[in-house]
Amino acid sequence: MIKRFLAIIALLGAAAVLLPFVLNLPTEEALPELASKYIENAPGELGAANLVTSIIVTYRGLDTLGEVAVLFAATAAVGLLLKRTGNEVGVSHWKSSEILKSGGGFLFPLIILYGVYIFLHGHLTPGGGFQGGVVIATGFLLLLLSGSVDSFNHTVMSLVESLSGFAYVAVALAGLIWAAGFLDPRFLPQGDFGRLFSAGAIPVIYSLIGLKVGAELLGILDAMRCKVRREGVTA
């Protein structure tokens, strides 16, 4: 009972912090200075139609690099906590029917294609590396759920993950050498505004982020899913 009382007090405290914030919302119509600067300069400077992408990949690019590193650390920690003991195979409990297996195998390449479409067009349309990576991970999840495959090749997964991470940093360093600074995408030609090959290295960086995020999320899913021992006992 005393625990519940303390919880109510903590809740009231949080509400007291949030309430003035909700009541005194800023009402001005104009955007903050930084935002209007980005909106004014970004299309001319970087040539990307999607301003959110410009901010994520270039202006706040260092944050994104750190964020991808956090994602990597979390994936590694999940994998470490739920390490396999060696005699387990990732077989689902139920027997998938033939229809389910062939349907999963048929849809998988199309989902991957859609994921690639999303991250290649991150600078033109809504979407980008994070969303595309998630769609790719979902495609692999479909294979797992439909029972088309039992396990993934971990060597290939970690190879894709570390190679794309390495290439991300390499592209960032190329910006330092041939353009104005770290993560500057302007060492590649600007191209025509609104077409696919434009905005310098932004599509390259976002594609690499997409591959990396996809491999990492797949690592989380693969570590979390229920493993079955070889003898058929649930782990």
Binding site: N50, V52, T53, I118, P126, G127, G128, F130, Q131, V134, V135, A137, T138, L141, L217, I220, L221, M224, R225, C226, T234, A235
Partner: protein, 85 residues
């Protein structure tokens, strides 16, 4: 017009969040938490943030739910039931 949709979505979100915390069955609670994310992604779309809406729909309501369900399937067979949950 927009404001009514926002109010309806907000009320639905709060209801789903309450359901997620007070549902007896854990898997139903996980699905309700996924519904909160799905409604949030519709709100983001109304707030003119399509990038965030896409991310929230794909991650918040699909992958998070799957990760929760995978964790639940590994935690089956709880001996003691929580009388309050």
């Amino acid at each position: 017009m927009n404001i009514f949709i926002v109010i309806i979505l907000g009320v639905l979100m709060l209801a789903a969040a309450g359901t997620a915390l007070y549902m007896k069955s854990l898997s139903a609670a996980v699905i309700a938490a996924g519904a909160v994310s799905l409604l949030a992604s519709v709100l983001y779309l109304l707030l003119a943030a399509p990038d965030v809406a896409m991310t929230e729909a794909a991650i918040g309501s699909a992958l998070t739910t799957v990760v929760f369900l995978y964790a639940l399937s590994r935690m089956r067979g709880t001996k003691k039931e929580d009388p309050r949950d």
